[in-house]
Amino acid sequence: MKIHALQIQDAAISGTAKKSRGPFLTPGARCALPVIVLLLLGFAAPLTAVIAYSFAEPHSFNVFSSFTFANYAEIFNTENTVWMSFLWSLSLAAVTVLILSVIAYPIAYGMVYVFGRWSGLVSILFVFPLFISENVRLYGWVLFFIKNGVFDGTLNLLGGSDAPEVLYSPGIILFGMIYTYLPYMLFPLVLGLSLLPRDVVDAAKDLGASRYQVWREIELPLAMPGFMIGLLLTFVLAVGAIAESKVLGGQSVIVLTHDIEVSFTYAQNWPLGSALAVLITLITGGLTLFMLFKLDLDRVLGRK
């Protein structure tokens, strides 16, 4: 009798499932349709165009009507020095991420555990600059650091000495990138640390763990998902940075995005620019997939 009831229930469920699938799509698929359309139009289509352009004849607009590896061959040509731009972009991004993780961790820790009711205000202070255009903020820094500018003028007024020349150098580009991307590292870290169960830390302390042991074996591994998202986000953004090198750095080094920009403008070599864009996308995309593979998103979002 019991078996019979279960069979009926099964049949009813499968019947409902069949019915709800309807003539075309399941409700889930129909709900996802706007997102799928948006992704196809806003993400897949431009990306397809860029990939297709990278295989077009150099200096032409024969996308989808010509196929050649000439653009990639040009990039990998031993005489081409574009590898220097790849190197600058990737190393500046890597150093930015490294420094940011050292700077952002204590701030994030403070915001979660130390600042108390002031942490809201601290958050606002870090978010507020994002409302102002990045270029405007960077030009502001130029006026601060430029000869006879705010910094130089203030030092002269106070002690009579000239400010060190910092503008138009790779160092100031790095400074600009750290300044610009700090919030993108900070807030994922805050999220990661705030999801850390306090009981576990207390338990570790009760069992005699030192402060270092608590940090190394409890806090850091548990905050790691947020940390990883911060690393990933800032790295991807920093690889694509251009304004810092142009405005603050006076193009003292040429980053890859500058080469891509020149290909699409002065050189009007869209296929070469696309091939450069595809290569850097592959590098950052590969890294992202690797990190996401390592990362448990469910844990980050607090579902576990």
Binding site: M84, N148, V253, I254
Partner: protein
């Protein structure tokens, strides 16, 4: 509390969708039926400003859309890529209309009966038949000239005297003493000209391997010794603050905003001599043409007539961004609108002699190769 059932929501969405579809349908019909109230301009900055466009919009009841870009090759290629259907007017530097857009049928000729008389009122350099506005065979008028200016390099005359800069010309950049004291503007098409000129080579011809090697060596040296590469605002700022004493490429177009802001010591320089049949300066003249749009707006020629009016020409000269002389200054009605300070900002005192010492911006036959070398040289800065 208002309750929505799924049915009512779907009905509302359906109605909204139908209205949206209908409205785009109307728009398309309006587009196809005639474009007598709309016009699109692809231009350098200035023509897209509200000062220039708003009075036209009001007078003609027109919807005018303008997009401003800061290099010619991009704009030409927008038309080549099929945007002739979009734009009605294109505003570019002098060689493109005659040498490229007309042969490639990207632009339409103007009615000579209407437009040639305007040239008679322009400055003497623009008298009809004005070379850059005419087709190769001299039969068709391809556009109207308005803004122009010499464009070689800019110095802070407190640090480098005008006399010395003009006399030494491009050789100034071969002097080791100025390493770290100059900047380079990021307009790479103009930088190609300048690196050739610093190397003592005429840019506007086909170059030999040896000349290209000299070009590369010069570009490497110039970029290596430059304090910064930047946009004109950054370079003017660096000149004013004392970070640098001079920069290339530059001229009235780039330095006039700083001069107008009270820094007349900053000055565009045109060398007294150089490798282009004895001339050392390069100048630009904008030519605005009607696009070969299958459905060209009738407002396009009207706009070209509108900007010839003395007061509008004066507005164009001092539109936002940069300040430049205009060909209509040959008309006393237009010239009298310029104040003493405005004339000072655009270096009117030396304008005609600087133009006489300059050759017009032209297409470099081996530009692609030279640009590749230029960018390779730039990378070696770091």
């Amino acid at each position: 509390m208002v309750e929505f059932s799924r049915r009512t929501v779907l009905q509302m969405l359906g109605a909204g969708g139908a209205m949206a579809a209908a409205s785009t349908g109307f728009a398309r019909n309006a587009f196809a039926a005639g474009r007598d109230k709309e016009m699109n301009i692809l231009c350098w900055e200035g023509y897209n400003s509200a000062q220039v466009l708003d009075p036209f919009r009001t007078e003609f009841g027109a919807t005018v859309k303008a997009e401003s870009l800061t290099n010619d090759p991009t704009m030409v290629n927008r038309l080549r890529a099929g945007e002739t259907k979009v734009w009605d007017l294109i505003n570019l530097n002098n060689p493109w209309a005659r040498k490229l857009m007309w042969p490639e049928k990207l632009i339409k000729p103007l009615d000579q009966e209407v437009f040639q008389p305007y040239f008679a009122k322009m400055l003497p350099e623009f008298k009809a038949p004005f070379h850059w506005a005419m087709s190769d065979d001299g039969k068709d008028l391809l556009g109207m000239a308005q803004r122009f200016g010499p464009y070689s390099f800019v110095v802070n005359t407190d640090k480098v005297s005008r006399k010395m800069a003009e006399d030494e010309g491009w050789d100034l950049f071969n002097d080791k003493a100025i390493v770290g004291r100059y900047g380079v503007q990021e307009s790479d098409d103009w930088n190609v000209f300048d690196m050739f000129l610093v190397a003592g080579i005429d840019p506007f011809k086909v170059h030999s391997e040896a000349e290209m090697a000299t070009f590369l060596a010069t570009a490497k040296r110039i970029y290596k010794g430059a304090k910064l590469i930047g946009d004109m605002a950054s370079l003017n700022q660096a000149l004013i603050s004392g970070e640098i004493d001079l920069y290339l490429t530059g001229g009235t177009y780039s330095v006039s905003p700083a001069r107008a802001d009270g820094y007349p010591n900053l000055r565009g320089i045109t060398p007294l001599r150089g490798p282009m049949n004895g001339k050392g300066g390069v100048m630009w003249i904008e030519v605005t043409s009607t696009v070969n749009n299958p459905n060209l707006s009738p407002l396009a020629p009207k706009f070209l007539q509108y900007v010839q009016r003395p007061e509008v020409a004066h507005t164009v000269a001092f539109a936002e961004g940069t300040f430049n002389p205009v060909s209509q200054m040959g008309n006393p009605e237009c010239f009298k609108l310029f104040t003493k300070d405005e004339l000072e900002a655009i270096q009117w005192d030396s304008l005609s002699e600087e133009m006489a010492r300059s050759v017009a911006y032209d297409i470099v036959p081996d530009y692609e190769k030279a640009l590749d070398l230029l960018n390779a040289a730039k990378r070696e800065r770091g």
